[in-house]
């Protein structure tokens, strides 16, 4: 999943935003925020609207074409790079406590996602061990994501081992 920010120019008329939202929804995108920049009206009276969303990375181009296809001006779009990355370890009944829900708690934030995971399950019904790599749009957001994961783990009685949050020494 990628986080994408798209700036479109919409006529100041009812129903315009819906034309942008429809293809996003159809392609499985998840809208994170919509900001109308009314103070930045174009000379032709259009309003720039910035839509941030989460979508399968492979569908970004298709989405842009679909929006252009309904005669909306796409002024710019860019994938938001995930800037901060860290590893956290989980030990416990990771699989039996709904692993996808655990991962989803990070992915659905829109600002962070689980980008890699290595899980070891040596014996049935015994605790598993997983190393999860989380990326976020910035350091502060990464901290927020880890805090979120901490709460999920507390609820599921999973031991979470955090990295020493350290600048390089």
């Amino acid at each position: 999943m990628a986080v994408v920010s798209i700036v479109v120019e919409l006529k100041d008329q009812p129903g315009q935003l819906l034309r942008v939202v429809e293809p996003i929804s159809r392609l499985g995108g998840n809208i994170l925020s919509v900001v109308h920049q009314r103070d930045k009206k174009t000379p032709l009276g259009r309003i720039p609207v910035e839509v941030s969303l989460q979508i399968d990375e492979k569908k970004v181009e298709e989405l842009i074409e679909a929006i252009k296809g309904v005669e909306i001006i796409v002024r710019s779009y860019n994938k938001i790079r995930l800037l901060a990355t860290t590893s956290i370890m989980l030990i416990g009944h990771i699989v039996h406590t709904d692993l996808s829900d655990t991962i989803n708690s990070i992915d659905k934030t829109g600002f962070a996602e689980v980008v890699d995971m290595h899980i070891s399950m040596p014996h049935l019904n015994e605790p598993s061990t997983a190393m999860v790599t989380v990326s976020a749009t910035g350091k502060e957001k990464l901290r927020e994501a880890i805090e979120l994961m901490r709460e999920v783990c507390r609820r599921k009685s999973i031991l979470m081992i955090e990295p020493l949050n350290e600048e390089q020494i």
Binding site: S87, M89, T133, L164, I169
Partner: protein, 329 residues
């Protein structure tokens, strides 16, 4: 002439007595001194003119100290300048050390202690009594055994604001984790080995559940970071549920696992953490290690032996010399 009372005569108290018996070593620093009393919970040896430390150590080796004055009677009835309080730690009540230390400070004696309990329970109160009575309360031996930490932070880093302290404060846990890292054996297998080597005591929960580390962290936070923390402020997670695979998987990303006690503005916590393999805190064996972060000096790292009879006694002796020694060195 400095008059010393040793209260508590277990391994640490005896270690102090052994070093003090070496007058040549100690008098160079503090001049003439006598130990006027040695006491434990069962008995005591005392004399206003000074006792023979050798006899006291011998008596303890043979069994108990002879019945005599109780520790409190010694504190109340005898004249001494400095008490070395080395009774066993109780972090719930601080006793019996708390009562001993209060009584000694109140009568105007300096106190040097290796006992974490009284400081965890009542650091603020004890520090205030010491200040009011114009005597010293020294406790280098409570944290990290021989590793210099309290005086390092308070004196050598004077003028700095300490922004965080992160460290390994329990050698037993570090031994278990670093052996799990090397051997990829289970926690219980390595715990058995540690018990056989007498690195872990029979009742190991105090160590492996992070309680010992948390107690030391509270003392550090209060004494060198100016916090007003209590034991219940520490978020504690121990090491008992760490799997052998954890080290293998962590290693692939360049990490190992250590039990880290951390004090910062965000709070106090003791928990297993992923530590980069090249990080100074990724030490092995029974070592203790602490990384102090300050605003001016930035990072300062200390490593040393966190336990042991003579090692801990060394910290007590350093406090004694700090109180009485010639500061012109």
């Amino acid at each position: 002439m400095i008059k010393i009372a040793i209260l508590g005569f277990g391994a640490v108290g005896q270690g102090v007595a052994e070093i003090l018996a070496d007058r040549e070593r100690i008098e160079r620093w503090i001049g003439r001194y006598e130990v006027v009393a040695v006491a434990d919970s069962k008995g005591s040896i005392y004399s206003e003119d000074g006792i023979s430390l050798k006899n006291a150590i011998e008596a303890k080796k043979m069994g108990n100290l002879p019945e005599g004055k109780s520790t409190m009677e010694i504190i109340e009835e005898m004249d001494f300048d400095v008490a070395i309080e080395a009774t066993p730690t109780n972090i719930d009540t601080g006793e019996p050390g708390l009562t001993h230390i209060k009584a000694c400070l109140n009568k105007g004696s300096h106190v040097i202690t290796s006992n974490k309990g009284p400081l965890v329970v009542a650091y603020r109160e004890l520090a205030e009594i010491a200040e009011r009575k114009k005597v010293r309360l020294a406790f280098e031996a409570t944290i990290g055994g021989a590793m210099p930490l309290i005086k390092l932070a308070k004196r050598d880093l004077a003028g700095n604001e300490i922004t965080s302290i992160k460290g390994i404060l329990n050698g037993t846990c570090n031994y278990i984790l670093s052996r799990m890292e090397q051997e990829r054996l289970s926690y219980n297998q390595i715990l058995g080995e540690a018990k056989e080597l007498r690195i872990a005591e029979a009742n190991v929960s105090y160590d492996v559940e992070g309680i010992d580390s948390a107690a030391k962290l509270v003392i550090l936070a209060n004494a060198v970071m100016g916090m007003n923390a209590t034991f219940s402020d520490v978020e504690i997670v121990g090491i008992t549920s760490i799997t052998p695979e954890a080290f293998e998987i962590a290693m692939e990303k360049g990490y190992t696992i250590r039990l880290i006690a951390e004090a910062s503005r965000e709070g106090l916590r003791v928990s297993p953490r992923l530590v980069p393999l090249h990080h100074p805190l990724a030490v092995r064996g029974t070592f203790n290690a602490v990384l102090i972060q300050t605003d001016l000096a930035k990072e300062v790292f200390v490593i040393g032996r966190g336990a042991g009879k003579i090692e801990t006694a060394s910290a007590i002796i350093s406090d004694l010399i700090d109180i009485y020694g010639d500061r012109t060195y």
